[in-house]
Amino acid sequence: MREVAIVAFGQSDHVRDSAETSEVEMLMPVLHDVLAQTGLAARDIGFTCSGSSDYLAGRAFSFTMALDGVGAWPPISESHVEMDGAWALYEAWVKLLTGEAETALVYAYGKSSPGDVREVLTRQLDPYYVAPLWPDSVALAALQAQALIDAELTDERELAGIAARSRADAETNPHAQLRGAVPAGEHLVAPLRTSDCPPIGDGAAAVVLAAGDTARRLTDRPAWIRGLDHRIEAHSLGVRDLTDSPSTRLAAERAGAFERPVDTAELHAPFTSQEVVLRRALKLDAPDCTVRINPSGGALAAHPVMAAGLIRLGEAAARIQSGASGRALAHATSGPCLQQNLVAVLEGE
C-alpha cells in the first residue's frame, strides 16, 4: 500500500462565539498556515476535501463559500463530506492511495454559536420516531453515562478526574477554549455535570497529506498513516450496548492499532463518560498502561463540531512531528453516543 503522511496541521483558536467572523474568515488563516508550513500554494495541491454541516450554518450548501475562500482557480479536484473533517481526511487518503494525487488539503470547520447546538443535533436522529421528541445531545450522553455507572464501569468521581486531567492538559494548548482548573459544576443532565461536557465553540482545522517521497520533501518529519479505518453502528440507542463501542474496536483492529502499543491516544470524546467507553474499546485501560491520553486536552477543552475529529488526527500527527510520540492513535466520532467511529495509527519514520 502506498505510504501517505500528514505533513502539516493547523487550527484556529476555538472560541465560544465568533459572531464577528464568517466561516470563511475563520478558515482562511488556518489554510494559509498549513500551506505555508509546506511551501505549497492552493494550485499545487492534488486533491482538496472538506468536512462541514449545513445544519450548523443554518443554510443549504454552506460549504460552497468556504471553497471560494480556498481559491479554487484554476479549477481544482475537490470533494466534500457532510461529516466531521476526519472523514474528509479518509476520502483524501483513499484518493492518494489510488495514485491520482500526490498531495491533499483537508479542512473542516464548524460554528455552533449561531444556533442552539444541543437542539440542532437532535435533527440527526430518526426523523419519524425520535427527532420529534427533541432529545438533546447532552441528555443522550447522560443516558450513556448512567448506563456505565449502572454497570459499575465508572463513577462520578472518575468522570470528574477525566475532566480535571483534560483541562489541566489544555493549559499548554494555546488554541483551547477551556483551560486550567475548571470546577465540576452542577449537574447539567444527571449524572453529567458541566465539567463532563464539552464547551460549545466555533473553530476550524486543516491538514496537508502527502504520499511517499513527496511527504519527505515537504517536511523533515512526516507523520505516516500506518492504518485508517472507520465503522458505523446501528442508529437506535435501544439496540446498542451503550457501555461498549464495537465499531471503535473493529476500526482500531483494521487500522492495526493492536499490533504494537501506541504511546499517545487522541480520543474524540466530547463527554468524560465517552472516554471511559473508548479506553475500554481500545484496550487503553490496563493498570500498567502508560499511554498518554489527550495531551491536547481533547474535546473537553475545545469542541468545534465537524472539526473536532480532524483536530484529533492533527494533534496526534503534531506529537509525532515534534518527536513527543513514536506511534500514536487518533480517533474521531460522529452521531449520538459514539455511533460512528474512525481510528488512525500514525508513526514517525
Partner: protein, 388 residues
C-alpha cells in the same frame, strides 16, 4: 502505481414519482439498494462499505442522514461515508465509492444517492435567507435563466432550441419505466405554449421534483468475473470545482466542466468524444443546458452546440444520443440525479437499458454538475475491461 479496475455489476433504481408516501426515507433507499444487490446477485454480507450521497440535508429536514440510514443500508459494522457536493453529489458519490475499489481498500462497495423531496419543499430549502448575501432567487431556475440568456446571445441560437430538448427528453422518458414524468400526449407545440417561468425557461423545460433513489454495486476484477450480468467498466472519472462567483467566471461554459471532461477523456483515451462516445447521460435540469454542455464537454465547437440539437444528432436514434433515459428533465430526485446519470450510462454499455437502449453502445459518459455551475463530476464507462 496501477489502480484496480472498477466494475459496475449491480444497478437499482426506485420508480421515481412526485411523492412516495408509502415508504419512509429508509424504505426508499433500501428499495434501490435491494434491486442493485439482486442485479449483482449479492447479499448484504457481500458488501464491504457503503458510500451515500444526497443534496442539502434541509431537503428532508434530517441532519447527516447516514447515521439514521445505517441500518436500512446494511452498513452496521461497516465503513459508511456521506458525500455532499451540491447537485453533482450523485456523481461524486459514485466516484468516491469507485476510488475505494481502485485503491484496493475495499473489494465490493454499495453506493447510493437519494432525495425524497416530498418530505419538504426543495425550492425553499434552497432559498434560506443569509444576511448580506445574494439569495438564490427562489430556486435554481432564477439563478440559471440569465446564463441561458447569455448563451443565446453569444451563439445566436434561435429561441426554439430549448423546447426541442424538452420534447425529446420527455419522449425518451416514455421508454423508461423508472422515469418520473410520462407525458404521453405531449407535443412540441404544448412545450412551446407552456407558461414562462423564468424567462427564457418555460414550465415544460424545467425538471420536476421527485422522490427517488439510485444504487450501484462497484467491485474489482475478481468480483466482476463472478457477476451474473455484463459489467460496465470505469474507464475514467474526475471531479472539478471552481468558485461560485468571481469576475473571471464563464457561467455559460465553466472552465471546471471543460477541465473535468478533459481529465476523463485523457484517462479513457478519448481523443474525439463526438465519435468515440456512443451515448451521453448529461445533467440537464433546464432544457437549454443540453446545447450548452455539448460545447462544454467537447462534443461541439463553441457556439455550435445548438446546431447538434437542432439537427437531431442528440435524439435517441441520432448519432450521439443524449439522455436516452429522459434525463433530469423527466426525473429529478436532486441528490440522486447525478448518480442516475452515471448508472444510466452504465446500463447502456451493459446493454440493459431496455426500450431506451442505444444500439451497440460500447462507451457512455455520465455527467453531473451542481452549485452555481461550479461542481462537476463525470465518468466514462465502457463494455470492455480497461487496458493496462
Amino acid at each position: 502505481m496501477s489502480k484496480e479496475p472498477v466494475a459496475v455489476i449491480g444497478i437499482g433504481q426506485t420508480r421515481h414519482v412526485a411523492a412516495r408516501r408509502d415508504v419512509s426515507l429508509a424504505g426508499l433507499v433500501r428499495e434501490a439498494a435491494r434491486r442493485a444487490l439482486d442485479d449483482a446477485q449479492l447479499t448484504w454480507a457481500d458488501i464491504d462499505a457503503v458510500v451515500i450521497g444526497k443534496a442539502p440535508d434541509f431537503f428532508e429536514g434530517l441532519m447527516m442522514p447516514e447515521l439514521y440510514l445505517a441500518d436500512a443500508l446494511g452498513a452496521v459494522g461497516k465503513p459508511m461515508l456521506r458525500v455532499h457536493t451540491a447537485g453533482s453529489v450523485g456523481g461524486s458519490t459514485a466516484l468516491v465509492a469507485a476510488n475505494l475499489v481502485a485503491a484496493r481498500v475495499h473489494r465490493t462497495v454499495l453506493t447510493l444517492a437519494f432525495e425524497k423531496q416530498s418530505e419538504s419543499n426543495a425550492m425553499w430549502g434552497l432559498s434560506l435567507p443569509v444576511p448580506f448575501q445574494q439569495p438564490l432567487l427562489a430556486g435554481a431556475g432564477g439563478f440559471f435563466a440569465p446564463h441561458i440568456r447569455a448563451y443565446m446571445r453569444r451563439t445566436g441560437a434561435p429561441d426554439t432550441i430549448g423546447s426541442l430538448v424538452a420534447y425529446k427528453d420527455r419522449r425518451n422518458a416514455l421508454k423508461n419505466p423508472y422515469a418520473h414524468l410520462h407525458e404521453k400526449d405531449l407535443t412540441l407545440e404544448k412545450v412551446q405554449a407552456s407558461p414562462m417561468l423564468w424567462d427564457p425557461i418555460r414550465y415544460s423545460e424545467t425538471c420536476p421534483s421527485s422522490d427517488g433513489a439510485c444504487a450501484m454495486i462497484l467491485t474489482d476484477r475478481t468480483g466482476a468475473a463472478r457477476a451474473p450480468h455484463p459489467a460496465a467498466w470505469v474507464h475514467g472519472g474526475a471531479m472539478r470545482s471552481e468558485p461560485t462567483l468571481f469576475a473571471g467566471k464563464d457561467f455559460v461554459s465553466p472552465q471546471a466542466g471543460k477541465d473535468c471532461a478533459a481529465d476523463v477523456y485523457r484517462q479513457a483515451g478519448i481523443t474525439d468524444p463526438r465519435r468515440q462516445i456512443d451515448a451521453v447521460e448529461m445533467y440537464v435540469p433546464f432544457s437549454w443546458y443540453e446545447p450548452m454542455w455539448l460545447e462544454n464537454l467537447g462534443f461541439a465547437e463553441e457556439g455550435e452546440g445548438w446546431k447538434l440539437t437542432e439537427s437531431g444528432v442528440t435524439e435517441l436514434d441520432g448519432a450521439l444520443p443524449v439522455n436516452p433515459s429522459g434525463g433530469v428533465l423527466s426525473t429529478n430526485p436532486i441528490g440522486a440525479s447525478g448518480m442516475i446519470r452515471f448508472a444510466e450510462a452504465a446500463l447502456q454499455v451493459r446493454g440493459q437499458a431496455g426500450d431506451h437502449q442505444v444500439d451497440g453502445a460500447r462507451r457512455a459518459l455520465g455527467h453531473a454538475y451542481g452549485g452555481g455551475s461550479q461542481f462537476f463530476a463525470m465518468w466514462l464507462v465502457g463494455a470492455d475491461t480497461p487496458a493496462g
